[in-house]
Amino acid sequence: MPREVIMPALGMAQTTGLIVAWLKKPGEAVKTGDALMEVETDKAVMEVEAQADGFLTDVRVAAGDAAPVGDVVALISDSPAGSGAAPAPRPADAARAPSDAPASAAQTAPTPTPAERRAVKPAAEPERETTGGRIFASPKARRLAAEQGLDLSRLVAAGAPQPYHVSDLETLRALPAASAVSAPQTTSASRRLTARVGADAFQGFLEWMRAETGAAPDATSVMAGMAAAALRQGASDDPLIVAAEAFGQSRLYADPDRPGLGRAKAAESGQAPFLILRDLRGTGITAVWMGVEAVPVLSVTRDGPDMLVTLECAPGQLKPEAAIDLISGFAGQLAEPLRHLL
């Protein structure tokens, strides 16, 4: 599947970038990290590296032309012929030379429709896989992203250079897929339930785990296990994927309630979660009202000595009794963590 080459935001106030030169020819093999093109911003000319292995194809913006930040300027495809059907002979490549007119529609990769993007969105993991590991962002940018439900990995996917600061969140908000994902969904009817539990019991439980195992447990993973158990309550043995989010980072767990709390295994990337657990305890947020997302979302916030649990979902995602069971089961485990062991 072809990967998009996107005009990155190289400066804080940059809206377009001028492609000074392509450093690879169409059809030429590229490796992740190879210098792909030279882009001029208001301040400097910078080399932009390839974010994937493959072949440079479908060059849509010729050298000497400018493109808006976030626009697809080329593709990195699995074959030298690009996203079109069969591999084309060399003369066809010449027709796509950078100096020529923009590529024809037949050579353009199919851009995911909003609907396709929506389906892919909850499992945003693959995008992060390609950029590898940790995202560098300031603590403030991370906190604001968590508070506003923004996914920093989308900036990585868009090719924006790290580290990310608060100013980069504007770029993130402006990325086209964001509106496609959230706009139609947040307007639909929703269920929202909240529960309040004292924070002491869960904190004490973590400390007990630390004493037992000798290592500080990952609180978010422990909560993911409890959430999965609450969702599973009396129901199926089907595999259960939970996406756990904390400080703008998202992890995917498979059956986190099964291997014992805190030892949850990462799910294979690309799988769609049944539930998102959003750990917002490290932020100043006390109340959550984010609206419906692709799957039910459990948010945990701190409010003085208490934790507030909020469940948001669409009526079609959970029936009333299932929603009540889920939040009361989860809140009950936070209040009395030993219940999970029974």
């Binding site: 560098f136 300031s138 790290q162 580290p163 608060v166 980069d168």
Partner: protein, 332 residues
Amino acid sequence: MRQITLAKAVNEAIAEEMRRDPTIFLMGEDVAEAGTPFKVLSGLVEEFGRERIIDTPISEPGFMGIAVGAAMTGSRPIVDLMFGDFLFLVMDQLCNQAAKTHYMSGGKLKAPLVLRTNLGATRRSAAQHSQSLHGLLAHIPGLKIALPSSAYEAKGLMKTAIRDDNPVVIFEDKLMYNDKAPVPEEEYLIPFGVANILREGRDITLIATSSMVQVAQKAAEMLAAESGISAEVIDPRTIVPLDEETILKSVRKTGRAIVIDEGHQSFGVTAEIASRINEKAFYYLDAPVQRIGAMDVPVPFSPVLEDLTVPTPQIVVERARRSVKGELFDAA
């Protein structure tokens, strides 16, 4: 309002307090007729006599010990230490005795003394007369440390120091004695542990002590004029006690901070303040907290080299600019 020099402000503070309280006396090297090498105390011996303005031999450990004993038995001594570098000579009297007397006597004794001395390089005084050692003393519980940044600050902080029942060390910058500032005729005191916000800003907080406050002010002016960057300038006034709240509140607002102090950078005042910001305002930081201290070298005698070892407005401006642009980042 009248303008007076920092030297005159210190002189006035001591004279006013000595008139008010007969238990106060002052001693040190060349403090009487000579009025100290910086002429800070000129005229005091004429008004208060040799009983209360006492010239000592060159014997810092001796007269510091006398002061601790006098303080424990009802006097309120002011000790004049000609150069801050001589602190190394009085460490036991100051840190083992004065700082711990109240604690070890179960509160039955106190040591209300003031040690006034100085800091600051670029006076071409070489490595043994140019150090800024306030961070060293701030490490010792039981001592309070005041760092006046102007004539106004020097007078108000000195009067508070003299009235404090704990040992207080007050460091004046030896290059600022002739700097003038508006100082009111009427009496005023400046409480310890209350920072001064000299300039309000939006983009970055500059926390600076002593003469570095001038450096930060100058940098803030340059940043505003040249880069449109709005810097907030905070003078903690005392580093023990430290007004953490004012600093944290500012950093939570701006998201960025640079700490500037003339002590050696490693293990110093800048490290302590930067660390507290990291611990208590981490999720509000949009850039790593920067430290700018003096270079970790003995202060050179060569004027050219000496000037390179201390923080300057240009260094602050450069770091602030890169911080605001999001450039300063060490991921390794």
